[in-house]
Amino acid sequence: MKEITLQMQELARELLQKGEVNVVLGWEKGTFWYLSPPAFVDKPEDVERLVYDDYCHHNLSKYLMDYRYQEGKVAVFLKGCDSRAFNILLEDNQLEREKYVLIGIPCPGMKDQEKAKEFGVNGDIPLAKKCQECKYPNPLVYDYFLGDKKAADEAAATKEAKAKEYSDVEQMEKMTSDEKYDFWSSQYERCIRCYACRNVCPACNCRECIFDQSRTGWIGKANNASENQFFALTRAMHVAGRCIECGECERACPMHIPIMLLNKKLIKDINELFGEYDAGVKVDGVLPLGHFDKNDPEEFM
Amino acid sequence: MAVTVEQVKEINPLVPIKAKVIKIVQETPDVKTFHITTIDDKKPFDPLPGQLGMLSLPAIGEAMFSVTNKGENHIEMAIKSVGQLTEALHEIEEGQEVGIRGPYGNGFPLDYFKGKDILFIGGGIGLAPVRSLIMECVRNRENYGKLSVVYGARSKADLCFKEDLFENWPKVPNMDLYVTIDREEEGWDGHVGFVPAYVEELAFQPQVTVLCGPPVMIKFTLPALQKMGFADQDIITTLEMRMKCGIGKCGRCNIGSCYVCLDGPVFTMEQLKELPPEY
C-alpha cells in the first residue's frame, strides 16, 4: 500500500500541475493512527498529505455531489465499493461521467477501526466485517488504475469464495415476528437521528430528503419509538436495490446500530425475488425495484 | 389586567396563553391583519413598538410575527401567507382561538426618537413592523418631530394598511406620505417606481430613519441614504430569522453572538456593521 500511496501522490501532482483537475479527493492521516479521513487536495505541493493504508474506509464518491455545479474537473480515488457508489450516482443521474477523473485502486480490505482502538497499534487487527464479505474489492470503473491489475484480479477471484455471506441475515430470519420486532425496536430505540447513516450513503442522494421535510408531517422531529421506526424502515426501503454494501452507514453510526444487517436482508430478499443482483456493478438502467419486468413476482396483486 | 412583561417572565415563557382572533382585515391578496385579545377581552401583553409575539395554531405550528399595532384591549399582527402556518392562519375566521406568547425582542428605541424628525421607509409587508412605531408617533404626536413615510409595493392591491395610508395618516399634522407602486396601473395617479429610487429623488435631509422591507429594497436604499449623509446610528432596521423559542435559547436565530429574538429584531446600521453578514 505504501507503493500505491506514492503512485497516488505522483498522479495527483501530475493532474493538478497540468491543470486537468481542480481538486483531488483522497485520504489523509487523521487524529489517531487508525483514522484516514477524506482529504481534498487542490495544490500540487499538498499531495504528500495523501495516503492509502488500512483505514481508508470513507467512500469518496458521495462527495462528488458537492462538485456537480462547480467549474472544472475533479479527480477521485476509488476502491471497489467506491466505484460501485460512483455507478449508482451515475445510474441515479446525479453525476456526469465526463466531469470526473476516476483513479481506481485495488483494495485489500480495510481494517476494523473499533478493534484497532481496542487492540492497539501492535495488535492483530481483523478486517472490517463489510470488507470480509466484500465481493468486489477492485474498482469496476476507472480512467487510471494504480497497482498491479492482474494480481489484484487474482486476489479478488480467490476471495470470492468467501462472499455471499448471509449467515447473520439467516440468523435474524429465524426469529419470530415478535422477536424481530423487539430486536429492531431495541436497536432503533437508541437512534439519535443524527442522520449520519443517510448523509454518508451514496444511495441517499435525493435533492430534498423526506426526513428534512418535517413541515409536511411525514415525520415528526420527536425522538421516539414510532418516529425512529418510521425513519429506519423508510431509509432501508429507500436504498433497497441501490445499496452498494460499502458499509459506511454502519461505520458512521455513533450508536452502534447494525444498519448493514437490515440492508443485507433486503439485498438477500431482492436476490431471491428478482434474481441475483449487485447494485452499482453495471449502469444499464435496469434496477430490480426501479424497472418493470413481466417475469417479476407479483403474489401480492 | 393585561399580563406585564415581568409577569410573563415569571410564568413558563415557552407555554402560550389562550387568545382569540376578534377581527380579520384583508390588507392585500396575501396579507391579513389579525386583531387578537385574551379570552376575557384584554390585551394579551403590552408590547413596545417593534416587539414580537409568538402566535400559534398549536396543531399546525407557531411562528414569530411583529406586532403591528396595539389597541386598548387588543394587539394586531399583519401576516403574509408564505408557509404552512401562515396559510392556515389565512383560512381561519373571526372567533378562532389561538395561542400567543410574548412580547419578545427589544423594540424600537423610543427615547432616541423623541423630539426628532423621523423618516419611515417600507416595502411590501415590511411596513408591518414599522407601523407599530408610526402608530406610537401618531398617538403621541407631540413627542416627535416631522414624520415622513415612503412606502412602496408591487401594485396598488399589494399596498398594506390602505385605510391608514389613504384616510387616517393624511389627516395627521406634520406628516408627509409618499406612496409608490412598482409599475403603472389603471386607476393609480400616484408615484410609480421603486422605493430606493424614490427615496433618492425625494432628497431627504439626514435624520433618523426606520427602514424595513425585502432584502433587495434594503440593499439599494442603504447606499442612497448614505449618499444623502444619513449616519449609521440613525439608520434603523428590523431583521427576520427563523425562530422557535423567542427567548434566546433554542439557537437558530443567531447572527454572530446576537440572538435576533432577544437582542433584536431592531438594529441600527452601526450595530449591524459589527455583526457577521449572515441574515
Partner: protein
C-alpha cells in the same frame, strides 16, 4: 483523611442512595454508555466517561411541554404536571460538570428562565467522579477543566483505583454523605497522579482571533469533508439547540421540544425559502464560531469542555482540536 469504600462495595452505597433518590449511574448497553437508573443488575461502567452526555437528564432529546386540544374554533392549553422525584447522578466527570455551567448560562440567564430545565436541575444532586487517566480523545485540560476536581458538584468522589473516596462540596453533598457514612471508612489517601493528555488544544487567543475570521478561506477548506450530520452536536455535552414541534392525534396534541442541530439545512430555513446558512460552509463555520467565539463573547466561557466525544464520533474525523490548530496557524 477521606471517607472511602472499596470499589466492589460501591453498589451498596448506590443501593442505599436509591432509597431516597432516583440514582443515575454510568452503564453500557450494546456498545453505548449513558447514565441509567440504578438497579442491582446494572453493571457500572466506571473505566471511562459515558458516550451520551448527561445533558439529556436536564434537557431530554424529546420533552413534552404542554398539551392542547383544538376543535373547530376552540383551543385548550394545559400545562403538564411537574415531576417531583429527587434524582442523583453518580459518576459525572469534570468535563460534563463544566458543560452544566454552560447550559446553566443558556437556560437560566439573560432575562428568561427555562422552567423545564430549571426544574430538573433543581432536583438533581451531583456526585462527581475524578478521572484516573485521560482517554485517547480527552483534552479537557486544554479547556481549563481539572479532570480530578470538578466544579459545581455536591460531592466529589475520587477514583483511587481499588477504592472510591468521597468529599462533600456543598451542604446538600454533606447531607448525602451523612446518609451513606455508615458504609464508609476513614482513611489517609493519595489521589493517583493523572497521566499525560494524548490530545491538546492551544486555545489561547483563539476567541479573539476569530473576531476577524468570519470571511477567512479556512472555513471553505474545513467544511469540505463534513457530512452535515448531527452526530457531533448530539453527543456534545454543551450543544443545546432545540426545535419545537407538535404531535397531534385528532383534536388532541402535545407540544414537544427536541434536540436540533445547526448542521441541518432546515434549521435556519425560513418559511419564504430564504436560508441565511444555505451550505455546509456556513453551518460548519457557525458551529465552531459558536463554540469558540460567539458563546465566549456572550457568556464569558467556551462552549467546549474538551470531553472529546465529537472527536471520537465524527464519521469523518472533523476534529475540533485540529481546527483550533488551523485557526491558530491561519494568516
Amino acid at each position: 483523611m477521606m471517607k472511602i469504600i472499596a470499589k466492589e462495595r460501591l453498589p451498596e452505597v448506590l443501593q442505599l442512595l436509591a432509597k431516597d433518590y432516583n440514582v443515575l449511574v454510568p452503564a453500557k448497553f450494546e456498545g453505548v454508555s449513558r447514565f441509567t437508573p440504578y438497579s442491582a443488575d446494572v453493571e457500572l461502567a466506571l473505566e471511562e466517561n459515558v458516550l451520551m452526555p448527561p445533558k439529556d437528564i436536564f434537557f431530554p432529546q424529546t420533552e413534552k411541554m404542554y398539551k392542547f386540544k383544538a376543535k373547530d374554533k376552540s383551543l385548550e392549553i394545559e400545562e403538564l404536571p411537574v415531576e417531583k422525584e429527587e434524582q442523583l447522578i453518580f459518576g459525572i466527570r469534570s468535563c460534563d460538570l463544566k458543560s452544566l455551567e454552560c447550559l446553566d448560562q443558556v437556560f437560566l440567564t439573560k432575562g428568561y428562565v427555562d422552567h423545564f430545565y430549571k426544574d430538573k436541575r433543581d432536583r438533581t444532586a451531583l456526585i462527581a467522579l475524578s478521572c484516573l487517566q485521560p482517554q485517547e480523545a480527552c483534552f479537557c485540560g486544554s479547556m481549563g477543566v481539572d479532570p480530578q476536581n470538578g466544579v459545581g458538584a455536591d460531592i466529589q468522589a475520587y477514583d483511587l483505583k481499588d477504592k472510591i473516596g468521597f468529599k462533600a462540596i456543598s451542604a446538600k453533598g454533606q447531607e448525602i454523605l451523612e446518609k451513606i457514612s455508615g458504609l464508609l471508612a476513614e482513611e489517609e489517601v493519595t489521589i493517583p497522579t493523572f497521566g499525560e493528555f494524548n490530545l491538546k488544544a492551544d486555545i489561547e487567543g483563539v476567541p479573539e482571533k476569530l473576531q476577524g475570521m468570519f470571511d477567512h478561506p479556512l472555513w471553505a477548506d474545513i467544511c469540505r469533508k463534513c457530512l452535515n450530520c448531527g452526530a457531533c452536536t448530539y453527543v456534545c455535552p454543551t450543544c443545546h439547540c432545540f426545535d419545537i414541534d407538535s404531535e397531534v392525534r385528532g383534536e388532541d396534541g402535545v407540544k414537544i421540544r427536541c434536540w436540533d442541530t445547526c448542521m441541518f439545512g432546515e434549521y435556519t430555513q425560513m418559511a419564504g425559502g430564504h436560508n441565511p446558512r444555505p451550505t455546509k460552509k456556513e453551518r460548519v463555520r457557525n458551529r465552531f464560531m459558536h463554540k469558540l467565539r460567539y458563546f465566549p463573547e456572550r457568556y464569558k466561557m467556551l462552549l467546549c469542555t474538551g470531553c472529546g466525544r465529537c472527536v471520537v464520533k465524527c464519521p469523518v474525523n472533523l476534529d475540533i482540536t485540529a481546527i483550533i490548530k488551523k485557526i491558530k496557524e491561519a494568516e
